[in-house]
Symmetry: D2
Subunit: 315 residues, 4 copies
């Protein structure tokens, strides 16, 4: 697709103004109390499935040579200091441990916020990209979204449907495949859903023992042609088990990440990256239940363009 | 109480070995699937209440002169760079924003992990405090706990019960007050509960426009005499709207934070600090419903002794 | 002065193009090998005087609530870990300590680089301020300057000359006072000099036990009317024992730091801040020798707009 | 050598107590004012040679996957923010840039301090290694040393002497080679010297375009058998153009870095790593002058076990 097609698509799917000119939540508005209540009623057994990867220096997929630093963990107080009798404030064997963490918000499991992407110098809801300065995002930061994310979740397990461990790196998920997945799993798409679309790409990488060929390279996902379907179905958020969310290379001749440009900037759609979906998928395959209560409130980091999160599914 | 009393109490409430010698979850084990399922059934309206404060440099209560740094937010890519035409990789008006955060895990709303406190050179489940080194917590880090925290929540609103905006700084919550609160609110304590005990102390501080007299000073809370009650009732976690969790000064002649010593080290009880409970309390007072679905999964930071979290109540 | 006066002054003192359109060193070009050789010949006794303050969290003057973080020091490996037998790679009592530091480049003793200040959207040598993005300074960073700073140093001790411990906060050093100081001290100004102008303002603050009223407030120094004198005398760099270099408030009706605007942007003059001059001044008063070998090479931080430095005088 | 040999060597070269039981400077004490004065007299032309590498994320040799983070540079204020009209405090085109840096002290050019290495649980001058805790080095930090480092420097250019671009990775510099180098260069060793021993190993790595095979691997240098020579000649400091200072593998059957153990812990000898000596060596080869004024004061980081530095030679 070229930019003319992108602009046509944008006119089709834009949510600018849909929830008012002041809105900073985008599609998360679709998670209504009623939908959240219905989501809670999906809990049958009370089993919980973590969808995060461990946050640590070597356990996360960002390339450490980039400026997106992986989580660093620095201790301010340690038990060894206590043992050695040098911890300030300790009395005998009574003391404590304390620490600092530093990381890129995109380093591990996270939501992209509505100030993360720009198109034609704009971000969501017709706001100027210059509102995102060295002081952070003056609007569209992760905070307004962060408190809403308990909703119905639906896992779409494409690799299982297609009889493979993981989608090929050049696999591009189609609308037809999405609809087939819903049908095969016996669930229907409902407004305000959080869709967890499994590609198997994180499992593929970790089974090989590392993330070397994972971040920054080709990946399976979907392209901009799927966005109208998400818009028609009032999807609140989509999370993937890949690093860059969308199918890469995208096929767009001009820009690198066209799904980001249209979905984040114009739809205000919340995108989740590096969600680990394999354990949940295993359970869904066993009991045949692909809908559940989803919880995934990111840290409310003021001014931030993304939000680290520990999401989970409760079945 | 003196240390002899502390040691007697420890024998009374210890959970060492209760869930096996390998256990690193402590009381969070009490959140069974069955209890989690029952918790989900409490959702009536689908309303959600955030229990976090915004994470930013001046919005969190730690004293900035301490080594517990408040959240710092540093941009790697900005919209202003895009506007100026200097963002690497940008094409025309297409570009992005990116960032790094650094903070003390205890800076804002967080759970204290089971490696945070030591007593007699031990941490939870008879482990040596030397397992917590400059490399982090080799055992008892926040990760095993982090994936479990969807449970029944109960708010105990002590200030409202006592007809005040916030508890006096020297107020020490008693077992009798806890039982009265349950009774007044028409709920009973159940195994695996997450108790949210409101003191009003965060509201007190923020209504005055800042955190100046909040962290590190006297605060309302409860003392070690309450711990047997929590143990008998199989409470899974307790969170407070204060900075140091327990009533301070504690009255203990030797150590500063005796509740930490007994609850974290010997009970393996999860303690939450800086949980903002005022909005939830307002709603509970309106509808008279004090039990709800609680979600509060901290970031799974490997080796960490605490976990930043965005907790919420769903009613 | 108003902006018309500022613009007139700029025409008078501008060094744009003086050392070619590619130049990124500004007045540091004036430190010729010949001048450096002569500076070395000033060493009579070999005594060395440190001009830095200790770099640590509480020992530096920045207000900790600002985003200019004071030096944080986080250990990666400790001796207590070795004692406890938990240091990876250690053998018996053989091991090591390791660490990370994080700080604002302006936090302690530093040189302001030529990309630190902008006037009319320009920085030194007619360069666009947009060259300083979230990726750092693409031009005029501290690196080209950093390797040159061994030169003749001259201390101008204004408080001693004026019979006071420290200049009054509203004292504005005049050209006449500068010339009187040279005369009184028996030295003359030479091209390529590094002038250390003592106000006593750091000593004033530290003698009171802290930096509370130091950074961000009024301070003694000089105003823009002194810049032509510095230009005529081909001064290579000026360092002060104050936080913001110039006399504050400046008297300019529009901009906060007019000396920065003219000196850094148009003269390409290197300005040093938080240089501790008291011990050196004491010695100069004793032996009457106010010229010396100065060394002060900042860390060559690529892209940086300032350079932390440990400067010294050798007499 | 085995540990018995190490212990014998230690008795031979130990400086514990030599400058008093309170001493924290070690061999840097040997840089007397008289020696510093003589060093200044070596300046003939005033030419200056930087011995640092640029400090930046990819320009320094530490492996980015280790916890020794390479320099990160984060902007607090940018020129692009000014252009976009969103910089707080800016007036028209007047504004500024500001920043934070974070790095391992060992990441780039640095001195190892006397608290960096431990042997038999001790550090320099019979101090307990437990003095180095998560709070930093309570004794033997870099500060007392940092203010002394202007001295005579001598370059020993081993690759040129041996007719090669760089020493083979398994080359072990002998006392005989050191003495031959002095003789060939027409200089003699004097007390208080800073010896710059060139291996060519940094040039070898950078000429290949990166640091991939540099840090953490085999390297040319000298072994513990050279230490008595350094002790007899009262050398104040030695810096190398390699990452780990000593010949590696060391040949010691037990510990990884025996030169560190003996030189830092028992001699209190200052060791410099990642000093880039090639440009200086080129000049020395041209004019045949291998002695000069050396300046290399590291940042006075309180509690630090190493000091980043921008060293230089002035000829």
């Amino acid at each position: 697709m070229g930019d003319a097609q992108l602009d046509g698509l944008i006119r089709q799917v834009s949510n600018w103004g849909r929830w008012g000119s002041e809105d900073e939540r985008g599609t998360v508005n679709l998670i209504t109390p009623e939908r959240r209540r219905a989501a809670a009623s999906l809990v049958r057994q009370g089993a919980i499935f973590s969808l995060a990867i461990p946050f640590n220096l070597e356990g996360v997929p960002q390339l450490p040579v980039t400026r997106r630093i992986n989580p660093h963990h620095w201790m301010l107080q340690t038990g060894t200091d206590l043992c050695a009798g040098v911890q300030a404030g300790a009395v005998g064997g009574w003391g404590y441990a304390d620490e600092v963490v530093a990381m890129a918000t995109h380093a591990a499991t996270h939501w992209d916020g509505l100030a993360h992407s720009f198109y034609e110098y704009k971000m969501y809801n017709d706001r100027d990209c210059a509102l995102v300065s060295a002081a952070g995002a003056a609007q569209n930061d992760i905070v307004p979204i962060s408190s809403q994310l308990v909703a119905r979740g639906v896992l779409l397990d494409f690799p299982r449907m297609l009889g493979t461990e993981s989608l090929a790196l050049d696999h591009r998920i189609s609308i037809s495949e999405i609809e087939t997945a819903f049908e095969r799993e016996g669930v229907e798409s409902l407004p305000g859903d959080v869709l967890l679309m499994r590609t198997g790409n994180m499992g593929r990488a970790t089974h090989r023992g590392g993330w070397e060929d994972y971040a920054g390279t080709d990946e399976p996902g979907f392209g901009i042609e799927v966005l109208p379907w998400l818009q028609e179905h009032d999807v609140a958020a989509v999370a993937m088990d890949n690093w860059g969310f969308e199918a890469l290379p995208s096929g767009n001749p001009t820009i690198w990440l066209p799904v980001h440009a249209v979905a984040i900037v114009h739809m205000g759609l919340l995108l989740g990256e590096n969600f680990m979906l394999d354990a949940l998928a295993e359970d869904c395959a066993l009991d045949g239940v692909y809908e559940f209560l989803f919880t995934g409130l990111p840290l409310p980091l003021s001014g931030a363009v993304a939000g680290p999160v520990h999401p989970a599914a409760v079945k």
